[in-house]
């Protein structure tokens, strides 16, 4: 989904943009080095679960970085953005010093800019399509850092710009789940004039943004501010509500709901099904992170407990594994180890997360695979057996297949294990809808261009469709579903 090229051209031809371009020559712009994100020192940050590692750019840094952007005729960066942010426009507003206008530009297409500025893998998306990367050997404009800067500036300014919404059309729409896919969907649907209610099973809105991503990467206050903006736009929220269970889809249809967007997430954590995996002290990353992030288990006043380990092994190489291992360090682990069966080059985690983890003292045991766990007399895990792996030919994911090396088994003393090897789709909602087409893995089948499921008024997106993806891809699904549901409902009423 890309922005209309005519519109982009028109925007680019605005007087203020043309003036900015002529003010500084491209050669000069290219000489400016890429900004470095100020970070809290590792020795300090590992003591706090809730202190953000990335501190955000200063105004002067943002202004300079914004002037690196050459406002290309053909802004390929936008093609790399799943929610099609008008990237040059917002960056040029920053260069111009109109930071609030930059923030408003972000919100034209992105319901959660302060979130995306923090957790998007920009290096694989917009920034990978930046002129500097495509045509020179210089690093990309720090689009992500600038996005975060503009969104934070607005939040801290106390004046929050609420995007325009169309006249309410009175048509009720239900969004199931309150993670990034759903929030992005809801934001667009209220803009189109629909009466949107977001239903959440947990007691808090935000989905993975709240239960999954730790505060040192994404503070809850940032998420809450974005939620408040959606509320002001007219999105309604219902917590403690499991659509299909608390009420059936038919009940909601009777109440007048005409469209459903299912974004219930990737519910079930995967385990490796190896001996001893059900010992106490071996838990999924979902459980570990939910206890700490959603339930505040690290705080004394909270009732939810969390197991603390001296020697913590985290199995997996994704962002969730990095979040878990860094959480373990912050909860006092003396040794926190990433155990990953491939090499660092194949790790799906963001480069930044790996870098931060290393700075904080996380050990990386790559090309190692768990075989079995051992426990003490009470059933608490006390150790594990692993073997070393070599890399063979590329597999279906394009990454080299890890192969066990015979006779390479070794044991490790550990007292806490967090398993972060992926998730399976949550069966709760599909099981309530016998007519809904699902894949053999349990993900909902959709027409990829429209995100429409086998039940015509039901659209779906995010992990329940993808089986495990990023915040921004989920948000892209939400936008696509909103646009197509709007068309679908309009066509239906015209018939």
């Amino acid at each position: 989904m890309s922005l209309n090229p005519e519109y982009l051209k028109e925007e680019r031809n605005q007087m203020w943009r043309a003036e900015l371009r002529s003010k500084t020559r491209n050669k000069e712009r290219m000489l400016i080095p890429r900004v470095k994100m100020p970070e809290l020192a590792p020795a300090i940050r590992v003591k706090y679960q809730d202190k953000e590692v990335n501190m955000g750019l200063e105004l002067s840094q943002a202004l300079t970085e914004a002037s690196r952007c050459m406002d290309c005729v053909n802004p390929t960066c936008i093609e790399g953005c799943p929610v099609s942010i008008n990237i040059p426009k917002f960056i040029k507003h920053i260069e111009q010093g109109e930071i609030l206008l930059a923030a408003a530009t972000l919100k034209e297409t992105n319901a959660l800019p302060a979130v995306c500025g923090r957790v998007c893998p920009q290096e694989k998306q917009c920034e990978s399509r930046c002129f500097y990367v495509e045509k020179t050997d210089k690093p990309a404009v720090a689009i992500g850092h600038l996005e975060r800067f503009a969104a934070d500036f607005e939040r801290n300014s106390g004046s929050s710009n609420i995007p325009d919404t169309a006249k309410p059309n009175g048509i009720k729409i239900a969004a199931v789940g309150s993670g990034p896919a759903s929030l992005s969907f809801a934001g667009d649907m209220v803009k189109y004039g629909y009466d949107v209610t977001v239903f959440e099973a947990l007691h808090e809105i935000g989905g993975v943004l709240k239960y999954g991503i730790p505060e040192f990467r994404l503070p809850n206050s940032v998420v809450d501010f974005e939620l408040e903006n959606l509320r002001k736009m007219g999105v309604k929220f219902e917590t403690n509500y499991i659509v299909g269970r608390t009420s059936s889809f038919d009940d909601l249809r009777e109440e007048g709901y005409q469209g459903f967007f299912i974004a219930s997430g990737a519910g079930l954590p995967r385990f490796m099904e190896i001996p001893g995996e059900n010992y106490n002290g071996i838990l999924s990353s979902n459980e570990y992170l939910t206890r700490v992030n959603l339930m505040g288990a690290a705080m004394d006043e909270k009732d939810t407990p969390v197991l603390k380990g001296k020697n913590v092994a985290v199995i997996g190489g994704g962002n969730t594994a990095m979040d878990s291992v860094r959480t373990a360090l912050r909860l006092g682990a003396q040794r926190a180890i990433i155990i990953y069966r491939r090499s660092e080059a194949e790790m799906p985690a963001r480069v930044e997360e790996v870098k931060h983890a290393k700075e904080e003292g996380v050990e990386f045991m790559t090309l190692c695979n768990p075989l079995e766990y051992f426990a003490d007399q009470k059933g608490r895990v006390s150790g594990m057996r692993l073997n070393r792996m070599g890399l063979g030919e590329p597999d279906s994911s394009g990454r080299r297949r890890p192969m066990p090396i015979e006779g390479s088994e070794f044991d490790l003393d550990i007292d806490l294990v967090v398993v972060a090897v992926g998730v399976s789709p949550n069966p709760l909602i599909p099981s309530c809808l016998p007519d809904l087409k699902v894949t053999k893995w349990g993900t909902i089948v959709v027409d990829e261009d429209k995100m429409q499921s086998s039940i015509s008024e039901m659209f779906a997106g995010g992990d329940i469709v993808r089986g495990g993806a990023t915040v921004i891809l989920a948000m892209g699904d939400g936008r696509k579903a909103a646009e197509n549901m709007d068309n679908f409902l309009k066509n239906k009423s015209n018939q």
Partner: protein, 274 residues
């Protein structure tokens, strides 16, 4: 929402609450559970629904004071509201007319057993129920169970009510006397383990409703995993009822103790406060 309408003490540790929640009252089925959270600092914990009145829009919960969360729930008075209540969760009990059903409940396990006994009776089964507890004071819902059972045997450890002995003694007496087509057992894990061993000896299909540790209750965390027939299952979405003969009760007992230290410490801090 979630307002407590009635509160009744079965004993100083066991309390019945009737809670307003019209949506759950309407949609719940026997065997379903809810997740609760009391106060902003509260933890999420499961309780099986004991009864519901869809006309009044209420559900009935029975709670035994065990630790901090159950204490906080019991501390709520009529008119107070439960901060968060979500459900119904879990697969409902499979109810059909199969002949004779032997239902066994231990302690507060009798509360979730009640709607199942009622449903089996209404489906046309002959229902014999054994309810058991340590002593007379801890026997709950006897009249309600009698209403839906063809026969009731009460067992207490100390003989202060009904007969002296364990739940399995009452069950075995019935099994030896007449043909039982299915058993359902709900209670402490150790009770379910021995009840299951007994019915396995007589090859009677048996369902057990498990009370695992849970956080979200929707399949997300995996804290409630249990080995059934050699495979890992999640109590919250695959259960809470399983073929008792396939459940690894020893592992379940071990996993129930997974946070024992943390729970003890929390209970100490809580009791010092009050």
């Amino acid at each position: 929402m979630n307002k407590i309408i009635e509160k009744r003490y079965f004993s100083d540790k066991v309390v019945q609450l009737i809670v307003e929640n019209p949506l759950i009252a309407k949609s719940r089925k026997p065997g379903n559970f809810v997740i609760l959270r009391i106060g902003e600092d509260g933890e999420r914990f499961p309780l099986t629904i004991s009864d519901a009145d869809s006309v009044r829009g209420t559900i009935t919960l029975v709670v035994q004071i065990m630790g901090v969360s159950s204490s906080k729930l019991v501390a709520l008075e009529v008119g107070d509201s439960i901060t968060d209540l979500v459900g119904p969760l879990g697969k409902p009990t499979h109810i059909e007319n199969i002949g004779t059903v032997l239902a066994a409940g231990g302690g507060v396990g009798v509360a979730p057993l009640l709607p199942i006994v009622e449903a089996f009776k209404k489906a046309g089964n002959r229902v014999i129920t054994v309810i058991a507890a340590r002593n007379k004071e801890l026997i709950i819902l006897e009249d309600e169970i009698r209403k839906w059972s063809d026969e009731v045997i009460v067992m207490t450890d100390d003989g202060s009510h009904g007969r002296q002995g364990l739940v399995t003694a009452g069950m075995e007496e019935i099994i030896l006397r007449e043909k039982v087509d299915e058993c359902i057992v709900i209670g402490p894990a150790i009770m379910m383990k021995f009840a299951s061993l007994l019915t396995k000896k007589y090859s009677i299909p048996t369902q057990a409703s498990l009370n695992s540790i849970m956080v979200d209750g929707t399949g997300m965390c995996g804290a409630c995993r249990v080995t059934v027939g050699g495979k890992t299952k999640f109590t919250c979405v695959d259960g809470p009822e399983f073929d008792a003969h396939q459940v690894d009760f020893d592992e379940m007992l071990m996993r129930l103790g997974g946070y024992l230290q943390e729970e003890r410490r929390a209970t100490e801090i809580y009791s010092q406060k009050f």
